[in-house]
């Protein structure tokens, strides 16, 4: 019966809201997403799109409608810690790719929100894979400051934005150096100069020196300077990480989040003592650049053990289409527990790294990322262990609304179930 949700055509499946009444999802193996153990025969109570109770021995109020999840896993939807979902239909088709504003005169002032298209095929495909929320970052174009990113939901409606201008994104490391003029000295000088220009803009617009920033860019950097908007910093190498942490000395209010951090394990104690959280690539293990010589899949586990708050993100890694790899990546970190000398995550930690932890790092953990009371009812029912390769989502709810799981790929699959033409060409087979 749950599966019937998936069977609806995505054209027909207008969300059936479960608002205004209480819904109980019962009988499944319940994962809260906060790192706690799964509980058998758990219950999630939803009212007005919000989780009002979850766990074992929850009393289902009279009159509540029930969804039987027996034999299924019930989890929060996956919260993608880093992505470019909704920004590209086809990466290599210029007009259908809005990741980077590479010829714009703006930088920090760019806002990715209008580029996020909830009707992109990738939204539907990744929704069907159990992704319900995602961090969406702009890609740096001609400046180390890429602009303002957003948090979105993957619901089948035209309102994707969960949080507008949720963070500012900036490149340091090799990419930042290249964009700033060819050296890390240039990126650090440019960063400081741009923040100071923004400060000047804030204190006296009349004296604003617009050599590096336009007014729109300066405006966008003010909340970053005040620590009201998080600054996500893409950086990979150990030394680059330390030099970014140093920025706090001159700009103590910055609310930093490290993105990437392939060599984070080499300086894990410094990251931990700084209190700066990390959204990391899970499986980088090759020396792709000289900033990543120490790459290892044990990176996240080692940082976690050192006390760093760390989530999984798809960083420059099929970031507009394959966010569905998140669960596979998390599962791989669990696999490391069986590999001698490697450091992985427990299952509970791994699932939290793709649900509650990224939400907390982005400052929205009180509303998203887990099934604790008070969180949005982003719930996925799976036919098995959600981190296992053989498993799939049977049903997806976003804000308590049942979502259609059909997509273009399924239509192609069904058309070519048998490749041979019948009485009419394939084009008539709809």
């Amino acid at each position: 019966m749950i599966r019937s949700f998936a069977a609806f055509s995505f054209l027909l499946a207008i969300a059936s809201p479960v608002t205004a009444q209480t819904v109980a999802i019962t009988g499944g193996k319940l994962v809260i997403g906060d790192g706690s153990d799964p509980v058998d025969n758990g219950t999630v109570l939803i009212r007005d799109g919000i989780v009002i109770a979850s766990g074992r021995n929850i009393v289902v109020p009279e009159g509540a409608s029930r969804i039987d999840a027996s034999g299924q896993w019930v989890t929060p939807g996956i919260f993608a810690g880093f992505s470019r979902l909704g920004l590209a239909e086809v990466d290599a088709v210029t007009g259908a790719n809005d990741k980077s504003a590479s010829r714009s005169g703006f930088n920090a002032g760019l806002d990715i929100a209008p580029a996020i298209d909830p009707f992109r095929t990738a939204i539907a495909v990744n929704r069907a894979a159990g992704i319900t929320r995602a961090v969406v970052a702009p890609e740096a174009g001609s400046n180390m400051f890429a602009g303002q990113g957003a948090i979105v939901d993957l619901g089948n409606d035209d309102k994707a934005i969960t949080k507008l201008r949720a963070f500012q994104f900036v490149e340091f490391g090799e990419d930042g150096a290249r964009l700033a003029g060819g050296s890390r000295s240039a990126s650090h000088a440019a960063f400081r100069a741009m923040l100071r220009e923004a400060q000047d803009y804030g204190s006296n617009k009349g004296n604003f020196d617009d050599e590096l920033l336009r007014a729109e860019d300066a405006k966008a950097l003010l909340p970053v300077l005040r620590g009201e908007t998080r600054l996500l910093v893409h950086v990979e190498g150990a030394n680059d990480i330390l030099r970014v942490l140093d920025l706090k000395r001159d700009f103590p209010s910055l609310k930093l989040v490290l993105v990437g951090a392939t060599e984070g394990w080499r300086v894990a104690d410094s990251i931990a003592s700084s209190g700066v959280p990390v959204i990391a690539s899970a499986l980088n293990d090759l020396p792709v650049s000289f900033a990543q010589l120490g790459a290892t899949q044990s990176n996240i586990g080692r940082m976690k053990n050192a006390g760093v708050k760390v989530a999984i993100g798809m960083i420059d890694d099929r970031d507009a289409h394959q966010i569905r790899y998140s669960a596979q990546y998390a599962g791989n970190l669990v696999a490391l527990q069986k590999v001698p000398r490697a450091t992985g995550l427990t299952w509970n930690q791994a699932f939290a790294a793709i649900s509650s932890v990224p939400a907390e790092i982005l400052g929205v953990g009180d509303k998203y990322g887990s099934l604790k009371p008070g969180r949005a009812a982003d719930v996925v029912l799976w036919d098995g262990d959600p981190l296992e390769l053989s498993s799939a989502a049977d049903a997806v709810y976003i804000d308590g609304v049942a979502q259609p799981l059909g997509n273009r790929q399924m239509r192609l699959r069904d058309r070519y179930r048998s490749p041979v033409e019948g009485d009419l060409p394939k084009a008539y087979d709809k």
Binding site: A88, R266, A295, Q322, K338, V339, S390
Partner: protein, 480 residues
């Protein structure tokens, strides 16, 4: 057009800094695949002895010493569809000596090492038919970008082995995390005819010759579609369209036929490296590995092959094979595919995760490949996803059959299936012992043997290779 010779377009990691140039980089794909060299059907009926010079750049690979080893108690997937619960595999003198449901009756030497495989799985060594390890190695710096000779739309004269850097750290990851024992390194896909491939044993050596798989036939990389027309159209030369692609290909095959006739005439002729390779294809000695995404283009390539009398062994990156699975089966052409890549370029727009399952269901040769230094470490996981996607649409593929996609089928398409690719007595002892079911995300190789020599052991840091590049660097010898 600013052309940066970087690897693949598709991987946004690489794309991001080059924006949408989709540089030659992406063009790293090829394909091929039938073990039986097909004698040319060309119109030249004259059988003349070929000039057989000693093969240049010959393999100097020597297997490392191994000991007789009996692995017991594991689930065996033999790579050809066979499965033994609680089975046994005996390795001896570098070969698979016996495989069965138990060790009873096996001629086990008294000094054989016994490995307890309880709870584990034994499979043939994993084979990647499409890799650029060595010719697009890490670190991915411009100085290492040696996979595309993007100076002419046809460069059949180049050989990938002359670009392979045997110190690529990627070989070690493919071994330790992916259980890769053999792999085909291809030129990129910037060119219609990209040059010869080389098949390697995944054993580090000071020289490429020391890695070359002894007796493996050569392949030749061809590429359809977007990449060649973009690269050369962008330079204001032919081809700039798909019709240009086909025209340049056909003109070149005509020259190859003439060259071959001249070569076989007994008269003096001037050697031409490119034509030698193309004539080798027409002879049936060199296997065509054809990068081709779209179904309609594959069908046209098949007709071109008929026109000139050669065989396409495998289509690589064939994301639309599911649309013509019947045609591919009828032509005995393999499809080397990803589990689920899609959307990175226009010709990958119709990719679906059920591609492999639909091919298998139609009885067409199916291979899972990587074209990627990361996914080569997880081909088993890619096969697991493709198998699961098939099952969800009602195509029940057994684990034993899915294992063919990673072992026997690529071996067949690389022309090495008589030597490796399955656990059959007498074949090379290229074997992976997995610490769990290889179709689970939670499993990794515990030990890997190549020609009977233990080349990786998760429990023994001494059995983990470290390339020259990583020696003395941060993380040297780490678990990676």
């Amino acid at each position: 057009v600013h052309i940066k010779l970087r690897r693949k377009i598709m991987v946004s990691k690489r794309m991001r800094l080059t924006a949408l140039l989709l540089p030659l980089s992406l063009m790293a794909c090829a394909a091929n695949g039938d073990s039986k060299p097909v004698k040319s059907a060309s119109s030249d009926p004259i059988e003349k002895p070929k000039v057989k010079a000693e093969a240049p750049f010959a393999s100097t690979y020597k297997s490392y010493p191994g000991v007789a080893t009996l692995i017991k108690g594991a689930t065996v997937l033999d790579g050809e569809g066979g499965r033994f619960e609680n089975g046994a595999v005996l390795l001896r003198n570098g070969k698979v000596a016996a495989v069965g449901a138990s060790a009873d009756g096996m001629n086990v030497p008294a000094d054989a090492v016994s490995v307890d495989g309880t709870g584990m799985f034994i499979t043939p060594g994993i084979i990647d038919i499409h890799s650029h390890l060595g010719d697009y190695p890490t670190p991915s710096v411009d100085a290492h970008s040696d996979g595309n000779e993007a100076t002419s739309p046809t460069t059949p004269e180049v050989w990938a082995e002359h670009s392979v850097w045997p110190q690529d750290p990627g070989f070690s990851r493919a071994l330790a995390n992916g259980g890769i024992t053999s792999l085909q390194i291809l030129p990129g896909s910037a060119n219609l005819m990209g040059g010869r491939s080389v098949t390697l044993k995944n054993v580090y050596s000071r020289t490429v010759q020391g890695m070359k798989f002894p007796g493996a036939p050569y392949g030749m990389k061809m590429a359809c579609g977007e990449n060649p027309k973009r690269v050369y159209g962008g330079k204001g030369r032919m081809p700039s369209t798909r019709m240009g692609n086909l025209a340049v290909n056909r003109q070149t095959w005509i020259k190859a036929q003439e060259y071959r006739k001249k070569r076989d005439s007994g008269k003096e002729f001037t050697r031409d490296l490119g034509m030698e390779t193309l004539a080798g294809v027409l002879d049936g000695d060199i296997l065509i590995q054809n990068h081709c995404y779209r179904a309609d283009e594959m069908a046209q390539v098949l007709d071109m092959a008929k026109e000139f009398g050669y065989k396409v062994t495998a289509f690589h990156h064939a994301v639309e094979s599911y649309k013509i699975a019947d045609l591919l089966r009828a032509n005995d052409v393999c499809s080397a595919v990803w589990a689920d890549w899609w959307g990175f370029k226009m010709e990958a727009y119709d990719a679906i995760p059920e591609n492999a399952a639909l091919l298998q269901n139609a009885g067409a040769c199916t291979i899972i490949h990587s074209d990627d230094e990361n996914q080569i470490q997880r081909l088993n996981q890619e096969a697991a996803k493709a198998m699961a996607d098939g099952r969800r649409m009602g195509i029940n593929i057994s684990e034993a059959d899915a294992m063919r996609w990673l072992t026997y089928n690529p071996a067949k398409a690389m022309g090495i299936d008589k030597m490796t690719g399955s656990l059959k007595a007498g074949k090379m002892a290229d074997v992976v012992l997995w610490n769990g079911n290889p179709f689970s995300v939670y499993s990794r190789p515990a030990k890997v043997w190549i020609d009977g020599a233990l080349m990786f052991d998760a429990n023994d840091p001494k059995r983990r290779p470290v390339s020259d590049f990583e020696l003395g660097q941060p993380g040297e010898g780490d678990v990676k």
